[in-house]
Amino acid sequence: MVKALENYGWFLPVQASDFAADIDRGLIIIHWAMALIFVLWGIFFVYLLVRYRHRDGHKVERSHMSLAVSMTPDVAVLGFEILLIAVYAVPSWSRMKITVPPAEGAVQVELMAEQFNWSARYPGKDGKFGRTAPDQVDFTNPFGIVAEDPAGADDVVAVNEMRFPVDETVLVKLTSKDVIHSFFIPEFRVKQDAVPGMALPVWFKPNRVGEYELTCAQLCGVGHAIMRADVKVEDRASFDAWLASKKAAEHADAATPAAVEQW
C-alpha cells in the first residue's frame, strides 16, 4: 500500500492507461493557454490602473477604440476553442466515451457499486458470465449468481480489489445496486458515474504495471469517503494466477456455510 504513494506528487498522478497521456496533453495545453491569457491580460490591467490613475491635471480622454478592435480577444478565444473542439475534444472523446471496443479480445469485467463497496466479477475461463437473480443476492454472493447456471460456475468475484492484465483492453459493465456512485481511477484518468437502473460501458487499456486506487467520485452517503478499492495492474500470467487463487479461496469459503447447515 505505502509503495503506491510513489504514484503521486504535486501535479497529476502517474500515467497508467492509454488515455492518460491524451488527457494530460489537453490539460497542459489548456493551462498554458490560460496562464498566457491571464498574464498578458494582467499586465495590460496593471498598466491601465497606473497610467490612468486619478491625479491633478490628468484629463479624461472620452474617445474609444473601435468596437471591432475590442473584439480581438473574443475572436482569439473563439478560434482557440474551435481548434480545441475540432482537433482534440471531439476525436478524443469519441475514442474514450463513444466508440465501445468489441467485447471479443477484451478483458470483460462486471463492476457493481453499492454503499460502500465495489464488487468485480470476471467471467472465468469460459468467457461467459453466469445468470444472476436478485433473490440470490447475499453477502457471500453480491451479484446474485444463479448456482444452477454452468456459465456462472467459474465466475470469479472480488470485493474492493481488482486486477487487470497490462496492455490489454478492459471492458467494464458498470452498474449500481442502490444510489449513484462514480468509478474513478486517477492514474488511468478514467471516470464514469454508476447509475442504478443502467448498465454503462467503461473501457481503458492499463499500460503500466503497478498498484493504483479506485475511489467513488460521486457523493453516495455517509461512507462515501471510505468507498475505495485496490487496483493492481500486472502481467498476464500473474493475473491468471490471481483469478485461479480467488476461485480456490471462494470454494474454501463456500464449504463452510454448507458444513454449518449440515451440523
Binding site: 491601465l48 442502490d178 486517477p186 467520485a217 475505495r228
Partner: protein
C-alpha cells in the same frame, strides 16, 4: 403614477418597517436577511474546513456545544459533515447570493435607476419577501429535526436524496424559495417594461437594469422546472412514487418499496436546467454592479454599452442550452455531450466580451480608487480566473479527469465568491450612502478589502492543486484515499485562510451597523454620479422622486467638455461652464 397612489400618508410602525410595500424597505429587508444567511452559511463551511484540514480532530470550543449524534466527542461525524455540505451550498446560493443580488440590490436600486416611484406590484413584492423568509427559516430549522438537515449535496441527486433523512424539509423549503423568486422576477420584468420614466428608453437604461432584466427572465423560465422536479422528488419520498427510482433497488441488502420505472437522470436534467441559468443569475447582477461602479469611478462613459448589453442578453439565451455540461459522465448519451460541449464554448465568448468591455473602460480614464472601486476592480481578474478555469471543465475530454474534483470547487468559488460576492461588497459600499444617507468608513473598508481578497485566494487557489492531484469533492475524510495524502497540507492552507476571511469580515460587520447610525453624513450624490438613483434624496422618500424625472440622455455621460461639471445626470439640462 400620480402623487396620490404613492402619497405621504402616515403608516404604522408595522406597515412602515415590517410589512412594507415600499421597494426600498423590502430591499433592505432582503439585504439584512441575506447577509445574515451568508454569514450562517459561511460558519457551516468553517466547521467543514476544520474537519478537512484536521480529519478526526475534535473541534475546538464549538465541538462540545454540538449534539453527540452530530459530533461524538466533538469530532464532526460523516453524517453531520454531509449535512453541513448540502446546507452550505443551498444556503449560499438560494438564501444568500441570489436574494442579495436580486432581492436586495435589484429591489432597491432598479426602480430608482429607471425613475419609477416603486415596483409595478408593491404587494407582490412584499409577498415575495414574506415567502422567502419562512422558506429560509425552514431550511435552517431543518438542522433541529430528527435525522437532521438534508445531506445529499445541494444538487440532491436521487436515489440518494430520496432515501436519505432530512430531504423532505429541504424540498418543502425549496418550493417556498422558488415561489418567492417567481413572484419577484415577474415583478421585475413588468416594472422594467412599464414603469420607466419618460425618456428612459431601453437604450438609455443603466447596465445594472439590463442585468436585472435578463436575470429576471432566467428566474422566470428556469426555476419552475425545479419547482416541479422538487415536488416529484417529494412525492417519491412521501408517497413512494417512482419518478426518479428505477426498478430493483437493493439498499443495504434490503429490497425497497419503490416499484421502479423511474429515471434518476431525469432529476439531473431538471435540476441542471435550472441550476445552470442559476449560475448566470449569480453572475449577471454582479457584472451590472461592477459596470456601474467602474463608470462612476473612471469618470468616463463605459466602453461598448451595446456590446455589454448584447453580451448579457446572449448569455441569458445561451444559458438555457448548456445545462448538460454538468452531466458529461452521468450516463447520458455521450454523443449528445458534443452538442453541449459546443454550446458551452460558445457561451464563454460573450463572457470574455463583458470582461473586455469593462477593462477597456479603464483606458483613458481618471481612476478613483475608492473602496467600492477597489472591490469592482478586484472582480475583474478574480472573476477572470473563475472563467478561465471553466475551460478545462467545459471541454469533455479534460472533464473526464477533473469532474467532481476540488478543481470544480475552486472554479465555481472563484466565480461566485471572488466574483459575485466581491461585486456585491462593491455594491454595498457604493449604494450604502443612498440607503442610509451616510457613508461606510473608508479606512475600515480598505482593511476589509485587502484582508478579504487575500484570504479568498488563500482558500480557493489550493483547491486547483489538489483538484489536479485528483482529489474528489465531498469527502468527509480526504486522507482515506492514498492519492490525497501528498496534498493534505493544502487543506490546512485553505482552512487557515477561511478563518482569516472570517476575521476580516468583522470590520465590515461593525462598519455596516455602526455607519447606519454614526457614519459620515453625505449629500444625495456623493460619488457625483449620473444615473437617476443619485438624483433623489438619500434615503429616498416613499414615492422616490419629488417630480417625475425626464430623461434626456444615456446613463454614463461623464467628462462631457461641453458641460460645466464632469458628470451630466440623465435628467439634467446641459449647462455650459462659466468662463
Amino acid at each position: 403614477m400620480s402623487e396620490h397612489a404613492h402619497g405621504h400618508e402616515e403608516h404604522s410602525f408595522w406597515r412602515t418597517y415590517v410589512f412594507s410595500v415600499d421597494h426600498k424597505v423590502i430591499g433592505l429587508q432582503y439585504l439584512i436577511t441575506s447577509l445574515l444567511f451568508l454569514l450562517f452559511g459561511f460558519t457551516l463551511v468553517l466547521l467543514m474546513r476544520w474537519q478537512l484540514a484536521f480529519p478526526g480532530q475534535p473541534l475546538p470550543l464549538l465541538g462540545r456545544l454540538l449534539s453527540p449524534e452530530a459530533a461524538p466527542g466533538g469530532v464532526i461525524g460523516p453524517m453531520f459533515y454531509n449535512q453541513l455540505g448540502a446546507m452550505h451550498g443551498t444556503i449560499m446560493v438560494f438564501l444568500g447570493i441570489v436574494p442579495l443580488a436580486v432581492g436586495a440590490f435589484g429591489n432597491y436600486v432598479m426602480p430608482l435607476q429607471i425613475g419609477a416611484p416603486d415596483m409595478a406590484f408593491p404587494r407582490m413584492n412584499m409577498m415575495s419577501y414574506w415567502v422567502y423568509l419562512p422558506g429560509g427559516l425552514l431550511m435552517l430549522l431543518s438542522f433541529l429535526l430528527p435525522g437532521g438537515a438534508a445531506q445529499s449535496g445541494w444538487t440532491s441527486y436521487p436515489p440518494l436524496s430520496v432515501i436519505n433523512p432530512g430531504q423532505t424539509m429541504w424540498l418543502v423549503s425549496m418550493v417556498f424559495l422558488i415561489t418567492s423568486s417567481l413572484l419577484g422576477s415577474l415583478n421585475f420584468i413588468v416594472t422594467i417594461l412599464n414603469m420607466r420614466a419618460p425618456g428612459m428608453t431601453l437604450g438609455r437604461m443603466p447596465v445594472f437594469v439590463w442585468a436585472q432584466f435578463v436575470t429576471a427572465f432566467l428566474l422566470l423560465l428556469a426555476f419552475p422546472p425545479l419547482e416541479a422536479a422538487s415536488i416529484l422528488q417529494l412525492m417519491d419520498r412521501v408517497f413512494h412514487t417512482s419518478f426518479y427510482m428505477p426498478a430493483g433497488l437493493v439498499i443495504g441488502g434490503q429490497t425497497t418499496p419503490w416499484t421502479g420505472g423511474g429515471q434518476s437522470l431525469l432529476w439531473q436534467h431538471l435540476f441542471w436546467f435550472l441550476a445552470h441559468p442559476e449560475v448566470y443569475v449569480l453572475v449577471l447582477p454582479p457584472m451590472g454592479i461592477v459596470a456601474e461602479i467602474i463608470a462612476v469611478n473612471t469618470r468616463k462613459p463605459l466602453f461598448g454599452y451595446k456590446e455589454l448589453v448584447g453580451s448579457m442578453a446572449f448569455i441569458g439565451v445561451m444559458s438555457f442550452v448548456v445545462w448538460a455540461h454538468h452531466m458529461f459522465l452521468s450516463g447520458m448519451s455521450t454523443t449528445l455531450s458534443n452538442f453541449f460541449l459546443v454550446t458551452t464554448m460558445i457561451i464563454s465568448v460573450p463572457s470574455v466580451a463583458v470582461l473586455t468591455c469593462l477593462i477597456l473602460s479603464l483606458k483613458g480614464a481618471s481612476i478613483r480608487f475608492t473602496t467600492p472601486m477597489l472591490f469592482a476592480l478586484a472582480f475583474l481578474p478574480l472573476f477572470g480566473i473563475g472563467g478561465l478555469t471553466g475551460l478545462p471543465l467545459g471541454l469533455t475530454v479534460t472533464d473526464i479527469y477533473l469532474h467532481d474534483t476540488y478543481y470544480v470547487i475552486g472554479h465555481f468559488h472563484y466565480v461566485v465568491v471572488t466574483g459575485s460576492l466581491i461585486a456585491l461588497f462593491a455594491g454595498t459600499y457604493h449604494w450604502f450612502p443612498k440607503w442610509f444617507g451616510r457613508k461606510l468608513d473608508d479606512r475600515l473598508g480598505k482593511i476589509h478589502f485587502w484582508g478579504t481578497t487575500v484570504a479568498m485566494n488563500g482558500i480557493f487557489l489550493p483547491m486547483f492543486i489538489i483538484g489536479m492531484q485528483g482529489q474528489s469533492r465531498r469527502l468527509y475524510d480526504p486522507t482515506a484515499h492514498l492519492h490525497n495524502l501528498v496534498g493534505q497540507p493544502m487543506h490546512v492552507v485553505s482552512t487557515v485562510s477561511a478563518f482569516v476571511l472570517l476575521i476580516f469580515q468583522l470590520p465590515f460587520i461593525y462598519n455596516f451597523f455602526n455607519s447606519i447610525f454614526n457614519g459620515e453624513k453625505v449629500d444625495s450624490n456623493p460619488w457625483k454620479a449620473t444615473t437617476l438613483e443619485w438624483q433623489c434624496p438619500s434615503p429616498p422618500p416613499h414615492g422616490n422622486f419629488a417630480s417625475v424625472p425626464r430623461v434626456h440622455r444615456g446613463p454614463y455621460e461623464y467628462s462631457d467638455p461641453a458641460h460645466k461639471d464632469d458628470w451630466l445626470p440623465q435628467d439634467a439640462e446641459k449647462a455650459v461652464a462659466p468662463v
